[in-house]
């Protein structure tokens, strides 16, 4: 679906390259996450992929076409939700969706159905200026889905959402993926990336330091151990055990048989810790 080879980009009047030789590919139906600190090149990569910046070097093919040669027809096939949910503030949620819907010539989704999916039915006739940040974020997501896009670009999709609506949005993203939509997510939110992404790329200083699935990364970089928290008389105690042959570890089996267990956790690494270890940078 997306093939990028040796992508270089330099902004006008700036000497240093913003992107220095990025190469990656994203198959159809994958949820792919770009993770990186501010200024790492995530947004620039996204802008190139959505066809806004065209004077890049290298090759960026999306749906088989070099992106610098595409025209308005490309926008019929992609959906973009930027981090900041901007709308015509004096128009209602529904009016905004109807306007954006009318800019597409292909088949489009019914705005009221989209609003219902993100629990905004009640807000359909409210002016956007009356909506909370979380409501605008959900409306932003609806707008990106209007043209039934083949590729969905989401920038910080769960930012400003309460846990219930964040979960609803994540479920909708996974539903889209199940229907074959390719989803590209740019985020600082490691938990969202872990939950949603099939693979993540760590971008730092305009370069991709690593690409892999969150699960593989966590397993490879974590300890193959389990931490057991159990109650012994009136005291809570901790013990760690190797995962190797844990089923035959008599002491472990004795503890879980004879004592009330408070928690059991495998000690795989967190995505955030892996990011720091690999890039030497914090995700801020």
């Amino acid at each position: 679906m997306i093939e990028v080879e040796e992508l270089h980009f330099t902004y006008p009047k700036i000497k240093e390259q913003t992107l220095s030789g990025l190469s990656f590919s994203i198959p159809q139906g994958e949820v792919f996450g770009f993770l990186g600190p501010s200024g790492a090149g995530k947004s620039t990569t996204q802008k190139i992929l959505i066809g806004v910046l065209k004077n890049y070097l290298g090759s960026v093919k999306v749906m088989g076409k070099e992106i610098r040669n595409t025209g308005s027809e490309y926008f019929e096939r992609i959906g973009v939700a930027f981090e900041f949910p901007n709308f015509y503030s004096k128009f209602t949620a529904l009016e905004n969706l109807q306007l954006f819907r009318s800019l597409y010539t292909g088949s489009t989704a019914e705005p009221r159905v989209l609003l219902e999916q993100v629990n905004l039915t009640e807000a359909a006739n409210l002016k956007v200026s009356q909506l909370s940040k979380g409501m605008k974020m959900r409306l932003n997501f609806c707008r990106a889905l209007l043209n039934n896009p083949q590729i969905l670009f989401l920038d910080e999709p769960t930012s400003g959402l309460d846990p219930v609506n964040a979960k609803r949005l994540k479920d909708l993203i996974l539903e889209k993926k199940a229907n074959g939509t390719t989803v590209i997510i740019t985020t600082h939110n490691m938990q969202a990336a872990e939950e949603l992404c099939d693979r993540v790329a760590f971008i730092v200083d305009g370069q991709i330091k690593l690409i892999d699935s969150p699960r593989e990364l966590k397993l490879l970089n974590g300890k193959k151990r389990v931490r057991l928290e159990y109650r012994y008389q009136n005291e809570v105690r901790n013990e760690e055990f190797s995962l190797d042959d844990i089923g035959e570890n008599k002491y472990f089996l004795k503890l879980i048989r004879e004592h009330p267990i408070e928690t059991i956790h495998s000690l795989e690494a967190s995505l955030e810790q892996i990011f720091i270890d690999v890039t030497g940078r914090q995700l801020t």
């Binding site: 973009v80 901007n86 709308f87 597409y104």
Partner: protein
């Protein structure tokens, strides 16, 4: 299809932001002014007012609309749809031209009846309004603040309205024949005086020529200064 949608939406946008009320107030002010002016100055004053309607108001309102849109951060989501800059410019120019045309007709009809050459008069208003609207968008694309826009728009517009000096017999030059306002003044004069075909054709051609030139420039300016900022969030966070 997209143009029609954008045109209709622009009119709704202008209505909802009170631009039509601004025009109604200005028209009322102009009419009171014309009523107070002595008869022998009335034709010239009316021409000046009908000229300022598409030009000065077009210039200021178009810039104001783009600044308002920028403040709401609307360019980000708008230009990641199939909607293109040329359609955006055409829609703004057309919707503001309609507003200017309505206002100019109201002023003219109330003050001195139906224009002698309705087609010439209307063409003058429409082509001047579209020229000034597109010029304004090309200028505002380069500005970050309203003050910057007001200053820069005057700098850009001033050379184009020099033929006013000729009209008011302050100073005349053959060079004015190359400027769009010369065409505007001739077409607006057709509201009260008859006009030859040659004069009509010249006026339309010079205005069309400048409309094409300014459209190409404004498109480039918008692409260079506004499209490059797509994805940075704009306002309304």
């Amino acid at each position: 299809m997209r143009f029609r949608t954008a045109f209709a939406f622009d009119i709704r946008f202008q209505w909802r932001h009170g631009f039509y009320w601004i025009y109604i107030i200005i028209c009322a002010f102009y009419l009171v002014l014309l009523h107070l002016i002595p008869d022998h100055y009335r034709d010239q004053t009316m021409l000046l007012l009908t000229f300022s309607d598409p030009s000065a108001l077009g210039l200021i309102l178009a810039g104001g609309i783009v600044l308002l849109e920028r403040d709401q951060g609307i360019h980000d989501p708008l230009f990641v749809t199939p909607f293109r800059v040329r359609e955006y410019l055409l829609s703004k120019a057309s919707s503001l031209s309609v507003l200017s045309l309505l206002a100019a007709w109201v002023i003219h009809v109330v003050a001195s009846g139906i224009p002698q050459s309705p087609i010439g008069f209307s063409a003058g208003i429409i082509l001047t309004s579209s020229f000034m609207t597109v010029l304004s968008i090309g200028v505002v694309a380069r500005c970050q603040t309203i003050n910057g826009f007001i200053l820069l728009s005057q700098v850009f517009a001033l050379p184009f309205i020099l033929p006013l000096l000729g009209y008011f017999k302050v100073w005349n030059s053959k060079v004015f024949l190359l400027l769009p306002t010369e065409g505007t003044l001739r077409l607006l004069t057709s509201g009260t005086l008859s006009m030859s075909l040659g004069n009509f054709m010249y006026s339309i051609m010079i205005l069309l020529f400048w409309n094409v030139v300014i459209f190409a420039w404004a498109k480039m300016s918008f692409e260079q200064h506004v499209m490059k900022r797509i994805g940075k969030g704009g306002g309304g966070k």
